[in-house]
């Protein structure tokens, strides 16, 4: 009886020592990434690959609108990296000394989406006045401000009457792009502006009508390391992963375009 007890105590002690030894070899580290909502599919896949490549590392992904992420960082959110859908907010964070220099890692193209079946019979941007119910983003969110830029260019091309009719057809100004796409997917809106990536995520429910390049804009996605990052080396590794062939492959599969790296400047410094 006594022997059994001793054996059990010994076993537990051995397990504890072995456990702490393995902790010493791979101290568990968490990389916290704040990411724009439109990055959800791509980043979820990249996180799995990143964790496999970095044993002992856990990637904690937080998705929200870029503006919300900026507020979180301004209020001291404990995170390592922000990946935004809009350069404006990362530039403001950099100016405030909260993040390091941002890196453009992906590009997204606004598209016009209509419900599958396209009851309103739209063929392209020029038909937008025929969409009885148009859903757009509020101007403060990135997709809303891109929409305004596209409409301004379309107005120059198609005339002031075009704009009047389009503005009259707006039935809702949504706060994030997924809400916009959901309303088209449900067939409640006749048309909306969204990103190519969102259209891809809802393929089968929405049809994409391309916007002519001369009237379209490009959305750039910058990533920046927080100055207070608990894991700056891991954050750098994450950005390097985004800029690697593997990372770019996942981004392209999710519907993003990737920037020409030679134009983007040198990659961020490797961890010392």
């Amino acid at each position: 009886m006594r022997g059994t007890w001793l054996a059990a105590v010994f076993f537990c002690a051995a397990a504890a020592v072995a456990g702490s030894a393995s902790f010493a070899a791979y101290p568990p580290r968490t990389l916290t990434v704040l990411a724009a909502a439109s990055l959800k599919e791509a980043f979820t896949r990249i996180a799995t690959a990143f964790e496999t490549a970095h044993p002992g590392v856990k990637v904690n992904l937080v998705f929200a609108g870029t503006q919300e992420l900026r507020i979180q960082i301004e209020h001291g959110a404990r995170a390592d990296l922000i990946a935004a859908a809009d350069g404006k907010h990362t530039a403001a964070l950099e100016a405030a000394g909260l993040v390091e220099r941002p890196w453009i890692f992906a590009l997204n193209t606004p598209v016009l989406i209509v419900p599958v079946g396209n009851k309103a019979g739209l063929r392209g941007l020029e038909d937008l006045p025929r969409a009885e119910r148009l859903v757009v983003g509020v101007p403060e969110v990135p997709i809303g401000s891109y929409t305004l830029q596209i409409l301004d260019r379309a107005t120059t091309a198609y005339g002031a009457k075009y704009r009047q009719q389009v503005d009259k057809n707006v039935v809702s100004r949504e706060l994030n792009v997924r809400q916009i796409v959901a309303k088209v997917a449900l067939g409640e809106a006749d048309a909306a502006f969204a990103y190519a990536t969102d259209a891809r995520a809802f393929a089968g429910k929405v049809t994409v009508l391309p916007i002519p390049d001369r009237l379209n804009v490009v959305a750039s996605y910058p990533a920046a390391i927080l100055r207070q990052a608990p894991q700056p080396a891991l954050a750098r590794a994450w950005i390097e992963w985004l800029l690697s062939d593997a990372g770019r492959g996942v981004l392209i599969e999710s519907g993003f375009r990737v920037p020409d790296l030679s134009a983007a400047g040198p990659a961020p410094r490797s961890p010392p």
């Binding site: 403060e140 100004r173 949504e174 706060l175 067939g187």
Partner: protein
């Protein structure tokens, strides 16, 4: 010994109650005081604030009219019935409270939207609800009605059947009995339910965003305006929140005073 325990109990009650009151007070006070008053006043002058206030007051008044007109007879019926089926209906009527508002909005779209179960028939006669002020009212009725119906059931159930019998035996018809006896006796409970339902309707956000969308001056209620303002200017959001609190206070205090008037002999409600 007993007295000591009694004192300790009273102290415990006081402390726990004070904690809850302080919790609410600090949160609401932070909203009112964390911004410079000048910035809040400037934000109040934003046309979006006035537009949202108008939409909120109009839609919530309409919603509560619907809730009272449809909910009072239902509450009466459920309050008088003793059988099991009525209890099941009563429980079922509480379920909307458990549904997350965004899901309620999705349900409304799937029912009354263009492709919806009922909505497609409405569409054929030219009625389109989604993205209209009517959709705001639908969303508010869905989330607010259960509060009122529940309060009405309890209020009516508490009324002494004997009193109604006396009224009837004195020659009052059913309508007169209801208006002269039942409604005044049930008034404090009904008005409390009305206050809860109204506050809930005013604060409604998720279902409205989903079913009615967010368009200034048309479907943008105060909570939607708050959320929209958070994208650009925290002070406007705060100002909108304070306007919302003010409207809710006026309604709740007003209903309290009405309840007091309804039952002058019973003292404080």
């Amino acid at each position: 010994m007993n007295r000591v325990r009694h004192a300790a109990g009273t102290a415990l009650l006081g402390v726990s109650g004070a904690l809850l009151v302080a919790f609410f007070a600090v949160t609401l006070l932070a909203l009112a005081t964390s911004a410079p008053p000048g910035a809040l006043l400037r934000a109040m002058a934003d046309p979006a604030v006035g537009a949202a206030l108008r939409v909120s007051v109009l839609t919530s008044s309409a919603s509560l009219t619907v809730v009272v007109l449809l909910g009072t007879p239902l509450g009466w019926w459920l309050g008088r019935r003793r059988d099991r089926s009525a209890r099941w209906i009563e429980v079922a009527l509480q379920l909307p409270e458990a549904v997350p508002p965004a899901v309620a909005g999705l349900g409304l779209l799937l029912a009354f939207g263009r492709q919806g179960l009922v909505g497609r028939w409405l569409g054929e006669v030219g009625v389109s609800l989604a993205f209209t002020p009517a959709a705001v009212i639908f969303a508010q009725v869905f989330v607010a009605a259960p509060f009122f119906v529940q309060a009405a059931v309890l209020a009516f159930r508490g009324i002494d059947e004997g009193l109604m019998g006396v009224a009837r035996s004195l020659g009052a018809g059913p309508t007169k009995t209801f208006v002269r006896i039942v409604l005044p006796l049930g008034a404090p409970g009904l008005l409390t339910g009305l206050g809860l339902a109204w506050a809930r309707a005013l604060g409604e956000f998720g279902a409205t965003l989903m079913f009615a969308g967010n368009l200034e001056g048309r479907t943008q209620t105060l909570p939607l305006a708050v959320y929209t303002a958070l994208e650009s200017d925290v002070h406007t959001a705060q100002a909108l929140g304070l306007v919302l609190l003010l409207v809710a206070s006026v309604i709740l205090v007003g209903l309290r005073m009405l309840a007091r008037l309804a039952l002058p002999s019973a003292g404080t409600p």
